[in-house]
């Protein structure tokens, strides 16, 4: 086992980003204490292939009650790799999102937009031996939120990964190219570095688009790399 390179804080938002109001009372005010990463951070949960069931990777089918979900069918492809470009095999990717109307199945979502009886909006998949993953879904709609007057979240899909260790844990959101709401969104803009923000935007891909069936998007995910020298203990 080797240890992981330190988190590159330049690629991430600060704990408190005042444009996103909830961060003001919820983000830690003191700088996190650096500790040397060891066994506890270098290890992490592994998931058996059986933890992904047959329809888990197809959100257009895993929530059906009486028909097909409404909305634009899409297929999302991506490669999970580390900062050295090494593909990350057997990584569990959990996803959840709003439906085409911008409404979440979650009981606390009160947005006045219809639920879709045939779409739950959650699923998971695993990367293959080359670090590639794929899932099918419906393009999520934008939805309003209470951060400021006329605040709308850009279309996005939430993703959660452990990666190869507890230290590489990542929860993020995938956005869509050309969305005019991106430059108005305090969550997207919370990441101060513009080049880093670009990594949150998927790319439309005509190669991944399936003829007569679904538009294709590519969303590669980069996790922290490993230190060259193995740890001592």
């Amino acid at each position: 086992m080797s240890t992981f390179k330190p988190r590159d804080w330049g690629s991430h938002a600060p704990f408190i980003a005042p444009g996103y109001k909830s961060t003001i009372l919820r983000g830690p005010t003191q700088a996190p204490l650096a500790i040397k990463s060891g066994l506890s951070e270098g290890t992490g949960p592994r998931f058996a292939p059986a933890s992904v069931r047959k329809l888990d990777f197809d959100l257009t089918k895993n929530g059906i009650t009486n028909g097909e979900p409404l909305g634009e069918r899409i297929v999302v492809h991506g490669k999970v790799m580390d900062t050295d470009g090494r593909p990350q095999p057997d990584i569990l990717v959990e996803v959840w999102q709003a439906n085409a109307a911008g409404r979440y199945v979650h009981k606390l979502d009160q947005h006045d937009a219809p639920l879709d009886p045939n779409f739950r909006g959650s699923g998971r998949c695993m990367t293959d031996a080359n670090g590639n993953y794929v899932f099918y879904t419906i393009k999520p709609g934008a939805y309003p939120w209470g951060n400021h007057f006329n605040a709308w979240r850009p279309n996005h899909i939430h993703l959660s990964l452990f990666g190869p260790g507890f230290a590489t844990r990542l929860v993020t959101q995938m956005y869509f190219p050309g969305d005019p709401l991106l430059e108005l969104d305090p969550i997207f803009l919370g990441t101060e570095d513009a080049a880093a923000r670009e990594r949150l935007i998927s790319k439309f891909s005509i190669e991944k688009t399936e003829e007569g069936f679904a538009l294709g998007y590519q969303f590669d995910i980069v996790l922290r790399g490993r230190n060259a020298t193995p740890m001592e203990n």
Binding site: S11, I35, S40, G85
Partner: protein, 195 residues
């Protein structure tokens, strides 16, 4: 460095039907829940509970806490086959939206010592709406004073903030419980680590 890290984004308020479906009674499976160690796992069975408080001291009802810990022998379990045979998962996940007092709660075993010169502890990650980046912390145990006093990482924490990492043992009718609150801000702000 050939590639830049993908930025972290908030887990948001609506994670439950994707990440903690069983706990919140959504029609989906989950890959981790509040049981870190099943009844068959070796070791002292304990429950870990606590609350998450914001800068106003208000209890947060939409946080998600994850724990990654060693088993009672101090070993991390990375092989899902081991998990099936021992009943020890090592991983736990709990949202603060289902308990009447908005606590997180985990059923587990007290971890063993991972390496010489360290005290037993569990690794913790805090996620919630209002956090663009998750925060790492640790829970140590108050009945391990001798080992705590020798733990390099705990001792690297300023003395007046060390208590924020130490869970308190309570004997309850249903068993041993360790209690610890996570304070995001304020005088008792929890120590978070840059892991």
């Amino acid at each position: 460095m050939a590639y830049g890290e993908t930025p972290s984004q908030t887990v948001g308020p609506y994670f439950a039907y994707g990440l903690t479906a069983g706990q919140y009674a959504y029609d989906f499976t989950d890959i981790a829940d509040t049981t870190i160690a099943g009844p068959d796992a070796d070791g002292e069975h304990i429950r870990i509970t606590g609350r998450v408080l914001d800068g106003n001291g208000d209890v947060v009802n939409d946080a998600m806490i994850e724990i990654w810990q060693a088993d009672a022998n101090g070993a991390y379990t990375e092989n899902p086959v081991d998990v099936a045979s021992s009943g020890f998962r090592g991983l736990g996940r709990c949202g603060t939206g289902t308990d009447a007092q908005n606590r997180f709660y985990f059923d587990t075993v007290k971890p063993g010592v991972v390496a010489d010169g360290t005290a037993p502890f569990v690794n913790v990650i805090v996620f919630m709406r209002g956090m663009l980046v998750h925060a790492f912390t640790r829970f140590y145990f108050d009945d391990e004073a001798a080992l705590n006093a020798k733990d390099d990482i705990l001792q690297s924490v300023p003395a007046d903030r060390r208590d924020t990492l130490i869970a308190k043992r309570v004997e309850t009718r249903t068993g041993v419980e360790y209690r610890i609150d996570i304070h995001m801000q304020g005088d008792a702000e929890t120590v978070f680590f840059d892991v």
